[in-house]
Amino acid sequence: MSVASDFLKEVNRRSGEAVQLCFQCFKCSLGCPVTFAMDFLPHQLMRLVQLGRKEEVLDSHTIWVCASCETCTTRCPNEIDIAKVIDTLRQMALEEEKTAEGDVAAFHKAFLDSVSHFGRLCELELMFWYKLRTKRFLDDLWLAPELLKRKKLSFKPSRVERIGEIKQIFKKAAL
């Protein structure tokens, strides 16, 4: 009889990792630079996945404030690609419409939307949609004139000519 939960199996399948190998050595949590902003530390998150506690994991702030710095992945003695597991958990959370940090998710969505339109990132478009979705209109407003002064904001987006190839990639990604 297998004691592995369905949640653990699904996380393993989608990430290609073996989360059950975590033996709670704390190395990931000791090296993680953003633990101060997390509700569960990385090793605790791995334990919750092992235990099949899907709700707590997918509702956690941890999966969104992880900066993807890859320190945990580099140092894990059991070679679990923890950052990859967290990528998978974010995707599962999005599918279930759970985002404890909605603004972080809104940023990623606005970023990819812009890339789908032009093939390259248009910062103005990204900020427009991000602000509209999050209603954080005043954030970073001081930056706009400073960037313009330094000719670092462009009103004419740089674009990919063979944009059809980009559209096809996005279609296949089902976004």
Binding site: A37, V65, A67, C69, D139, E146, E165
Partner: protein, 285 residues
């Protein structure tokens, strides 16, 4: 001098917020006899937004650039941006494992980050001969950030916990590189938009640790690190009631300066923390 041709992937930020990195990468390479051929019709690598939210985009977006570089140019790829480098390397590994058969990629070309490429002995030798203004007495810490080195399974970096390429390059132009323990610590990257509080805390710690060892500037190889350390210094000063003055350089800017390449004003003016007072004090300008 043997002329070397390589494919060049600038990436999105090098056209906007990291223009200085693009300008100085191009001028420095030209002086060292490296011809950069821009990948035709390149597209965004997807950065962290793709790999954090969609596995297919995370590989397919950067993969398209590798296929174009191999098929249309047949040249090794050199990438200044650490984040783009990391994504193109991730795509390279995925394509070589043949999990994405829709991309026709044989793996005949190699993918380098610009820093490691320029730290190769032959280019360091050339660089030393090109120095006209050695940056003596400039005390700096080399700041690599995350994505040039980690994870080594992706980057193929031999020393992910203690990379030395930037020190090799900076020492060749006379900079005094101070040892510190935070060279590969994270700056918070794209969290700066949605959670600036996290980035402020991470970056403040980097300033404090750099100052603690006596640095008067921080040298980066990543547009995201540069943006967070340079653009946010004013905010961090206001928030924590501090008076940090730490110019943040791209390593290519200091190379251009030492090599006597014109245009220092142009890139210096692009910085939020004006580096000119420091450079004038040291009589490099």
């Amino acid at each position: 001098m043997n002329k070397m041709r390589v494919a060049y992937y600038p990436g999105c930020t090098l056209e906007t917020t990291a223009k200085e990195f693009d300008i100085t990468s191009r001028s420095v390479c030209a002086q060292l006899g490296i011809e950069l051929v821009e990948i035709p019709d390149w597209n965004c690598c997807g950065a962290s937004s793709a790999h954090e939210t969609n596995d297919y985009l995370a590989i397919a977006l950067p993969a398209r650039n590798l296929v174009v570089a191999e098929q249309e140019l047949g040249l090794n790829v050199v990438i200044p941006c650490a984040a783009c480098f990391n994504r193109l390397k991730a795509a390279e590994k995925a394509l070589l494992s043949r999990t994405y058969t829709e991309f026709d990629y044989e793996g005949k070309i190699k993918v380098y980050d610009l820093l490691s490429f320029l730290a190769q002995p032959e280019y360091v030798k050339r660089l030393k001969k090109k120095v006209v203004t050695p940056l003596k007495e400039l005390k700096a810490v080399a700041y690599y950030g995350c994505l040039l080195c980690r994870p080594p399974e992706v980057t193929d970096h031999p020393q992910p916990e203690n990379p030395m390429e930037m020190e090799t390059v900076l020492k060749a132009i006379g900079v005094e590189c101070l040892p510190w323990s935070y060279k590969t610590d994270c700056c918070g990257a794209s969290l700066v938009v949605a959670r600036p509080d996290i980035v402020h805390q991470l970056v403040k710690r980097l300033y404090d640790r750099a100052l603690e060892v006596g640095a008067e500037c921080i040298v980066t190889a990543c547009p995201l690190c540069h943006a967070n350390l340079d653009m946010r210094q004013k905010e961090i000063n206001e928030k924590y009631h501090k008076h940090y003055y730490l110019p943040i350089f791209y390593f290519t800017e200091l190379m251009a300066l030492a090599m006597g390449i014109e245009g220092t004003e142009t890139w210096a003016k692009g910085h939020f923390v004006d580096p000119r007072p420091l450079l004038e004090e040291r009589k490099y300008l």
